[in-house]
Symmetry: C2
Subunit: 335 residues, 2 copies
């Protein structure tokens, strides 16, 4: 490791992974944290709970399609949903820079309240810290959350199995590109909106269709590409995806190409990946497509028993390309 | 309200209270948050859970008696203990400034691991964000936590009743003065150490002595004075304390006097206030005094049925003084 923290240490890439493996896991040594899922799954007096935390440092605070308040609520709601849990209770902890406009804070906090109601969760506890001007950039928000996991649900990254179909709930890269275009002050003709949304109603519908779902993940930092690599390594399976099946809005694809971003590694905030045994894949896909947030859901690939720990993509022109996790982040502070 | 956030909005004082009352409570409207206890008490499928969150922005990160890692673990452990809960699981979310020394980060994270083991809790989930140089001051840590509340325990600020004895577990103002002396580079002859410590073993011993405890609070931001005012208002009772009974180390008292701080309003990080009915007060006091952290515990006052919502102090010279919550914070970034 270098002797100083780099921006890449906070990415979804390999450098961040090393920091967690070499520093965090040894310090907090325990089998629950070592799973490195979106949330911890706890046995509490006979009930299975999901518990998750996320800090939000997005810049700018307001972006096309939302603000940091949407991200903070939906981000933790989604982490709980990706454990197969019904999200119930959230905490909200704000670190505010002295001098921040109360009008903007009010709008953000109201957004958080509205987003919580939309997702069906309650913000039950909080904390507010103010630091002197210059000690923080405007506003950071941490949310943590608790959900209940229904009986019979067993969802975790290591449960991917050869034969599983991989379903993506919708288009890639909308959130990252919405942030980027806003941040750069780029005046594109077509406005790209963040896809930030709560996924817990869709996961509830999927689990109502069948409990036989192996993995759920929301491809946020690092995008679809990094998350697939994490799952391939966690489960020690191979993953094969089809380039022609990957859903992306034409305007997002265009901007990615123009600016040199690979949409496979750009963050999403309202999408999920599901790994489902072949027998149940169509049923889960149908449940997703009936949800407003899953209308463009499609099978983008499958799990294989070869090239273990690696992700391959069958390209449009008939070749095969290795999809490797990048070392760092293409876009810092996107969430 | 002013149109900009002030440092005082993050204090334990009146200005911070107004921000919570006028902005946070309406946005998140729900009866659990409205209790404004150290943590939320949740009914989860028949089990009573405590859930709490705190962000730590202390400056400097390393201070006499500890570092931000001790604060982050013990702070949330103590918030859960103040709900009468047995703290079990914690999350840890770090916001790190680009360029921060990995050696310092390693020491802090190891401290967190050790502090968690000391307190008997497990850090089960986490998050790491890195922001560009200048966007945060070195390191902020959020911890959230979950604990289980044993049957028969009912502890909340509004439960203070006339006749309750008020017990303070030890000396006042150690933490705040330790931070101040370090921050100011003051070279005092006697080093003052932070009292940062986990209080959950002491609260377990107290609750083993009797379940008949009405209120527990750790007097952190705002100190003993602000917390007593909050309880007086929450329960709509009067509080009377005795100046001669207030425990304080002579060296801390000396520095407070020298620098013009009222120790009643200086933060503590390893002390608690207990409100106990007269019938059980001596039993609880004895249990506290048997704990290493409660050796100097003593009864500092009582709850009255007059001067509702107010805190009065009987002074050493025989007078009576109103102890009002200050508008803001004497010392920003002490936790």
């Amino acid at each position: 490791m270098s002797s100083r923290i780099l921006l890449d240490h906070g990415s979804g890439g390999k450098i961040a992974g090393r920091l967690i493996q070499e520093l965090m896991l040894p310090a907090f040594e325990n089998p629950i944290l070592a799973q490195l899922a979106d949330g911890a799954i706890l046995d509490l007096d006979g009930r299975r709970l999901a518990f998750s935390t996320d800090s939000f440092v997005v810049d700018p605070l307001f972006f096309p399609g939302g603000n940091i308040g949407h991200l903070a609520i939906n981000g933790t709601v989604n982490d709980l949903a990706m454990c197969g849990a019904v999200p119930l209770y959230l905490s909200a902890a704000l670190i505010i820079e002295e001098g921040f406009a109360i009008e903007a804070l009010t709008e953000i906090v109201k957004t958080m309240g509205a987003a919580a109601r939309t997702a069906g969760v309650t913000v039950v506890t909080g904390d507010t810290k103010v630091v002197p001007k210059g000690a923080a950039d405007k506003l950071f928000i941490n949310t943590s959350g608790i959900g209940l996991i229904p009986a019979g649900v067993d969802i975790a990254p290591h449960r991917a199995r050869p034969g599983d179909r991989i379903i993506l709930s919708g288009t890639m890269a909308d959130h990252g590109m919405a942030i980027l275009t806003k941040r750069a002050g780029l005046a594109f003709e077509t406005a790209i909106l963040s896809d930030c949304a709560p996924l817990n109603r869709m996961t509830a519908a999927m689990l109502a269709a069948t409990k036989n779902i192996h993995v759920l993940r929301d491809p946020t930092r690092g995008g679809v590409g990094a998350v697939l690599n994490e799952i391939a390594q966690s489960a020690q399976v191979g993953i094969r995806i089809y380039e022609e099946k990957l859903p992306i809005r034409p305007e997002v694809a265009g901007i990615c190409e123009l600016l040199g971003f690979d949409p496979l590694f750009v963050a999403n905030e309202g999408k999920l990946l599901a790994f489902v045994p072949e027998t149940d894949a169509e049923r889960v896909l149908a449940a997703m497509q009936q949800d407003l947030l899953g209308q463009s859901a499609c099978i983008i690939g499958r799990v294989t028993a070869d090239h273990l720990g690696r992700v391959l993509m069958e390209t449009r022109i008939g070749g095969t390309r290795l999809i490797d996790t990048p070392a760092g982040e293409q876009l810092p502070r996107i969430c």
